[in-house]
Structures are given as C-alpha cells and as structure tokens.
C-alpha cells in the first residue's frame, strides 16, 4: 500500500489525524510520519495525550516529567537524528509526548533513556519474579541469533559454529517441551 500523504513511498506506519471522535487513521511512510509529527508538535495539536492509566498511575503530564527528566540526563549524549524504533517506527519524541511506547522492541531501541526512566519509576533496574518459559527460550534464541550474525559478519567462524550448535540444542529442547505440553 502506498503512503496516503505523499502517494509515492510504501506506507509503513499509521498515524492519527484530528482529535478524539473524528480522528482519522492514515497509513503513511516514515518520512511523512515524521513530518506530520513535527507539524503537530509545532501547532500543538498532536494526538490526544492518553489520560492516567485505568489503575491510578501518575497522570500523563507527571509521567512525561519523569521521562523528560530521564532524557535531560542522557538526552544530550544521543544525537537528535537517532530517531526511531526499527520495528514499529515511532520516534522518540512521539512516545515521550504520549508516555506510551510503540512496541516491545522500543525497549531495546530506546534502552539508554528508558533505563534511567525505569529506575526513576521503580527504584529498581532488574526484574525479579515470574519467568515465562516460552518467552525466556525465545529471548535466548534471539540472543544467540544476534551473536551468530555478529560472528559470521566478523568472520569468526569457530565461534559461529559453536553458536549454531547452541541454537540447535535450544530448538531440540523446545521441541521436547512442545510435545510434553
């Protein structure tokens, strides 16, 4: 599908135009999404800010302040041209305004800022508690795949073979677990 704003590039993301009731969803390319976000910010008419969560979290402005403070600290180290999550495409500015991330991958994409924000919010940095086995295996697989890619690109073939064997083993384990369920 083509971008609904420039009608040239391929649409990759959805933005909302207008307010609340008559908000309209447009499918646009990254460049147009960025343009729209900048225009909205300038006009002060960006998408409605989500209100405080259903269960009593600080209202969005307060959350915004916490996030802002986090950015203040690490923001300078990050160039403004480093813009978006590679998976969902949202810009740092966008999620700051709405205090909501775009997708789970945003946590990796904006890790530097979020680490600070997470600590501000929870006074902790490390999860303790429930570990979903399937998700944990998926995470391990992802780590191994990333390392394997690195090793191949760096032409470290011995390392790559070892990683490939680990991946195989992981897949076998999952297969067995899958049968057991």
């Amino acid at each position: 599908m083509k971008c609904e704003m420039c009608h040239k590039a391929e649409a990759e993301t959805a933005i909302r135009k207008g307010v609340e009731a008559d908000a309209q969803e447009l499918y646009v390319c990254q460049a147009c999404a960025r343009k729209a976000a900048r225009r909205d910010a300038a006009a002060g008419t960006q998408a409605p800010v989500p209100q405080s969560g259903s269960d009593g979290m600080p209202p969005a402005p307060l959350m915004g302040m916490i996030l802002d403070a986090a950015f203040e600290i690490v923001g300078r180290a990050i160039s403004l041209s480093e813009p978006s999550c590679p998976v969902c495409g949202i810009l740092r500015d966008e999620y700051r305004k709405r205090s909501r991330l775009g997708c789970p991958a945003c946590y990796a994409a904006f890790a530097k800022e979020l680490d600070t924000a997470v600590f501000e919010l929870h006074r902790a940095t490390q999860h303790v508690g429930k570990t979903p086995e399937k998700a944990k295996a998926a995470w391990q697989r992802q780590q191994l795949e990333n390392a394997l890619n690195d090793a191949v690109q760096g032409q470290r073939y011995e390392e790559a073979i070892a990683l490939r064997d680990q991946l195989k083993k992981l897949a076998e384990q999952e297969g067995r677990q899958g049968e057991a369920v």
Binding site: S54, G56, R100
Partner: protein
C-alpha cells in the same frame, strides 16, 4: 439528644463484630501482558488490534472455556457503564476503538481486558483484603494463557508494557478502602501522605482530584519492578491492613471523643437521602458513604453495610438506567436517583 451507646462496650463489640470487610471493601490484582511481535494498542492500527483480539480470544477459548469473551464495540452503552461501574473494566478500555474486548468468568472473579493500554490486563478480584487469592487466580490464568501466546518478556525488565511504569511483574495490587472515619477526625491527608512516602499510589474512586468521593480510596503499589509478585502482594496487603486498623481507631475515637460530629454527619446524610428531589451521582455517593459508616457501627435500624454497597452500585448511571429499562438524560437520572434512594431509605432510622 444523648448518645446512648457506651463507648467502651461499643468498641469492644465492634472489634469483634465488625468484619474488616466493612472498611476493606474489595481488592484487585492485575497483570499487564503484551504479545512479543505486536505494537502496543495505542500505536496499533485497527487491523492490528483486531488481530490481537483474535489471538487472545483463541487462547481464552482453549484455556478458559467458561469465560464470556466480548468485543467492547458490540456492547450497548448501558452495558458498558454497568461493567465499568462494577469495576470490572476501565473507562480507558471503553474509550478505545476497534479491538477492545473483555473476557470474564461467570462469577466475575476474573476479568481480562483486551487492548486496553496493554494487550492483556488479567485482573483477579476478591473480597476484603484477599489480594493473595486474587493474585493466585490471575496468575493461574496467566500461566495457562502463556501456552498459547508469545509474551514480550526479557530477563532484565520482565514483562514489557506500553508504559515503562508497569514493566517487571506487570503487577498492580490494589485495595479499595472506605476511610470516612479518618476524614472525620481530620487525619486522612496525613495518612495519604504517609502512604505516598512508602511509594504507594492512592487514588479516590469516582472523585475528582485528590479528594475521593465518598472517601473510598484505592491503594496500590507504585513499583512493579524489583520485587517478586508474592512480595508485592504481601506488602500491599499488609499496608492496607494497617490503614484499616487506623480507620478502625479513628472510628473508635469518633465515638468516644466527638460522638456529635459523627451523629450529625449521619443524621444529615439520612435526611438528605430521605428528602432530596435531585441527586447527582457524586453527591449521592457522599451521603451513602456516611450511611455506610453508620451501618457499619450499627447506628441505623434496618440498614446493613451490604445494603449500602448495593445501593452505591445501583444508583450509578448505567445500573440506574438498566434498572429503569430505559435511557435517561442526566437531569432525569438525578430525579430518578433521588426517588430510588428516598424509597430505599424511607424506613431507616438513626438509633440515637
């Protein structure tokens, strides 16, 4: 008029006689969960949200076949209000577009919101301060659903959520407490401040700003990362139990030290409810809150706490209209609400 109860006898009687549930009304534990390869609902397209709804519905059908799974868009307006007023779902969910859904157990002890702020919000409910029970129910369902869903989770941040304030366990445990006694002795502000210093969130139910309408407060954990689920649940339970004790002490002190303040509050509230011709929801809640305190202290004839709790639910817009079987304007509702409460309060008398 003399207050005819012996404070000593009364407080002993109430210590044994008032179940803690008079103050701790109910509790809830929710788990925020998201699917690994989907955008969070606020950034998702309608199409994305509907796909997520489909995945979650399938998982629920497989693991919780007794649950009703419904799309919010399919609800009549009154039904939405009824679910919201029953605290099963949030206003947030109702305001969201396509793909918003709700699944609940036949006894309403568990409710899953789909595509609210997160893809899933699994909520367990229980009476009083049984947060452990509410958590265990939600946790068990979560474990079963995970067989069918690929959750977003990392070893460092735990469950990944749309807002960083919920990462880690994704767990929020909250107790709903009726704290009118603390208000009447002028201590509610300091209690709330103390709770906030302990990193608990305090929010009024149905009120605007920090003042809770009817002095019904929801107290919950601020931090979801860094402690495990059981520890969070136990901590919130323990602190809520301490607040219940403080409220209990405040009530005992009211009876002993300023019974007229208490009786005046109860008498005024009863006469408004028996005579008013127009009552808005928040207003009615204030007076019913006083009735609830009086009922808990057994100062009214023919009125129990459970009766008042029922009225608090039934007088709200959705329930009221459902009861009348028709949609009403806001002015009509205020009139019908006052009629309804006048009828229910007609035979209630203050004992002293």
């Amino acid at each position: 008029m003399m207050l005819s109860l012996d404070p000593g006898v009364h407080s002993k009687k109430t210590r044994a006689g008032i179940p803690a549930d008079d103050i701790a009304m109910r509790c809830r534990v929710r788990l925020a969960r998201n699917l690994a390869d989907e955008r969070f609902p606020d950034w998702a397209t309608e199409h994305d949200r509907e796909r997520v709804f489909g995945k979650v519905r399938e998982a629920l059908h497989a693991e919780a076949p007794g649950f009703r799974v419904e799309s919010v868009a399919a609800f009549e307006e009154q039904d939405r209000d009824v679910l919201f007023e029953s605290h099963l779902i949030s206003k947030d969910l109702l305001e969201r577009a396509a793909g918003g859904g709700v699944a609940y157990a036949p006894d309403s002890s568990i409710c899953v919101m789909i595509n609210e702020e997160d893809h899933l919000r699994i909520q367990g409910f229980s009476a009083g301060l049984d947060m452990l029970g509410a958590w265990q129910a939600a946790d068990a369902l979560d474990t079963r659903l995970e067989r069918h869903l690929d959750y977003a989770w990392t070893p460092k941040l735990g469950y990944l959520t749309a807002c960083p304030s919920n990462v880690g366990t994704g767990l929020r445990a909250s107790g709903m407490l009726h704290l009118l006694g603390l208000r009447l002795v002028g201590e509610i502000e300091s209690v709330v401040r103390g709770l906030e210093r302990m990193r608990l969130l305090v929010r009024g139910i149905g009120g605007e700003g920090s003042e809770a309408a009817g002095q019904i407060y929801q107290i919950s954990n601020m931090d979801s990362l860094g402690s495990d689920e059981a520890a969070i649940v136990r901590r919130v339970t323990r602190i809520c139990a301490e607040v219940v004790q403080q409220e209990y002490n405040a009530r005992a002190r009211l009876i002993q030290e300023s019974p007229m303040v208490l009786l005046d509050c109860l008498a005024r509230s009863l006469s408004v409810l028996q005579n008013a011709r127009l009552l808005a929801t928040v207003e009615a809640l204030e007076f019913l809150s006083a009735m609830r305190l009086g009922a808990s202290l057994r100062l009214f004839t023919r009125l129990k706490v459970a009766d008042v709790d029922k009225l608090i639910l039934l007088m709200q817009p959705g329930h009221l209209q459902k009861g009348m079987g028709t949609a009403l304007t806001s002015d009509e509702r205020d009139e019908r609400r006052s009629e309804f409460l006048r009828r229910k309060m007609a035979s209630v008398r203050l004992k002293c």
